[in-house]
């Protein structure tokens, strides 16, 4: 599984950078929409924190949007 993880990680990194380098440039002054609150990755930290916690304790899966630090025996 370790080799697989390394390959996926390398693929994600290289693919993302290729995609980024190939994207049309968006000047900083054109990024106003991207800075809007409605575009936040996580708009409410307390809500996100509780939602993640409930889902990880009710489902066998966890993580995905940050490093899972463990600390929870509640995962199925």
């Amino acid at each position: 599984m370790n080799k697989g993880i390394t390959r996926v990680a390398a693929g994600l990194l290289c693919g993302s950078l290729l995609l980024a380098s190939g994207c049309a440039q968006v000047a900083p002054w054109q990024r106003g929409h991207l800075g809007s609150d409605v575009m936040s990755w996580d708009s409410n930290a307390l809500k996100r924190s509780l939602d993640d916690h409930i889902h990880s304790s009710k489902e066998a899966s966890s993580g995905g949007f940050g490093a899972a630090g463990g600390g929870c025996g509640c995962n199925g």
Binding site: V38, D42, E59, A60, G64, G70, C74
Partner: protein, 397 residues
């Protein structure tokens, strides 16, 4: 009190994404340290539906209810430093499944813990972040304490903006060490064996945020996690899980900006996650939201409907034998079965000057049939449906 059975126990996520919390996707630009202080409080009522009486062995159908208080405080702490913190206090009560087995009629029988269980948990998280011209470096520490479970966790994370800030790389590592001390150890051999047992979890995170165009952005992430130690549930009957678990989650988040009129703007969110581990669990998660905001001179109003679909396949050792082979791994925990779940939510937030008031509702339904594909012939009455109601207030200065 089962650290496996509790709906809300110690936090699983020490977020390397702490750096991405509450940030707009313009973090794909070089980040600047926030200047404001934010204090926020949120109270949530979590209520699970009763277990189905027709499938319950001892007539106990009440399940968990949890009252959650969250207090958040974010503040600059030096020229280029910013601290986010969260204190959480929970009180919980109710009964939980101890075992599920299949009877001679092919029906699943759910054995619940007899008496209502009461417990509390307190959890503190601190995450300082140092901002540089082209990126960030941050750390996080967390401590969680309850009667039968202690957890300490720490992590570091960072981000780096590239290609004229068109892309931001993110990475992080975290470590957690947990210690079990089951209540009433005299009641079972499993509880005695678990007393003092530990669990260690290491997690690596890699991600990248990309500006696709002036209206859309994409975030991709990969998390590899390894847990080792005591991973079984000492409160469940015949619960014997492997002593290690390797997990991999690949996620994507897409944001698209829409404007339908003056003073009004929208963000369409689409999040997906693919997960697998060496217990043979595979899962897929899809979440979508439409964040709509109306803004006046001193006020703002935000409304966000949410739809989330989740499905998973069962762990290799999941089974419903009443007396399973004691030499092999086994668990009848419904959370390790094949099932699917649908969550619907509606969030609202009213802002006036520096104050904001939020009101959220979420309903979650899980069933074998919602798995859509996979072996769902076995009844799983231990699956949980719940409702979550939250009220929050925050002040920024």
């Amino acid at each position: 009190m089962s650290q496996q059975q509790k709906p809300l126990t110690a936090f699983a996520v020490l977020s390397a994404a702490a750096a991405s919390m509450a940030l707009p996707v313009a973090d794909a630009q070089a980040e600047a340290r926030p200047d404001e202080r934010v204090i926020s409080y949120r109270n949530s009522q979590y209520q699970e539906d009763d277990a189905p009486a027709s499938r319950t062995f001892n007539g106990v159908t009440d399940r968990y209810s949890v009252n959650v208080h969250q207090l958040g405080f974010d503040t600059p702490i030096a020229d280029d430093w910013y601290l986010t913190s969260e204190l959480q206090y929970e009180t919980m009560s109710g009964a939980s499944p101890m075992q599920t087995y299949e009877n001679s009629d092919g029906q699943s029988v759910l054995v619940m813990s007899g008496a209502s269980i009461d417990d509390t948990r307190i959890d503190l998280k601190l995450a300082p972040t140092r901002y540089f011209e082209q990126g960030t470096v941050g750390g996080s520490v967390a401590i969680s304490s309850e009667n039968d479970y202690q957890s300490l966790a720490a992590g570091v994370n960072g981000s780096l903006a590239l290609f004229n800030d068109m892309a931001t790389l993110q990475g992080g590592v975290s470590l957690a060490h947990d210690t079990l001390s089951p209540t009433d150890p005299e009641l079972s051999t499993a509880r005695q064996q678990a007393d003092g047992a530990t669990k260690t979890t290491v997690s690596l995170f890699q991600g990248v945020s990309l500006v696709l165009n002036k209206d859309s952005a994409l975030n991709l992430g990969l998390v590899a996690t390894h847990s080792s130690g005591y991973l079984s549930d000492p409160y469940k009957t015949d619960d014997r899980r492997p002593d290690s678990r390797a997990m991999l989650a690949l996620s994507s988040r897409y944001r698209h900006y829409l404007r339908w009129g003056p003073g009004q703007e929208n963000g369409w969110h689409l999040d997906a996650r693919w997960y697998q581990d060496d217990w043979s669990v595979r899962s897929q998660t899809l979440t979508t939201r439409l964040v709509s905001r109306w803004t006046g001179v001193h006020w703002r109003f935000e409304l966000t409907p949410m739809l989330r679909y989740y499905r998973q396949s069962q762990a290799a050792f999941y089974g419903l034998e009443q007396t399973p082979d004691a030499n092999n791994p086994h668990s009848s925990d419904a959370r390790l079965s094949t099932y699917g779940a649908l969550a619907l939510g509606l969030s609202s937030e009213l802002g006036w000057k520096a104050w904001s008031l939020s009101l959220d509702y979420q309903t979650y339904d899980a069933s074998e049939g919602l798995a859509l594909v996979g072996d769902t012939d076995k009844e799983t009455p231990g699956l949980v449906d719940y409702q979550l109601f939250s009220l929050g207030v925050s002040y920024q200065y």
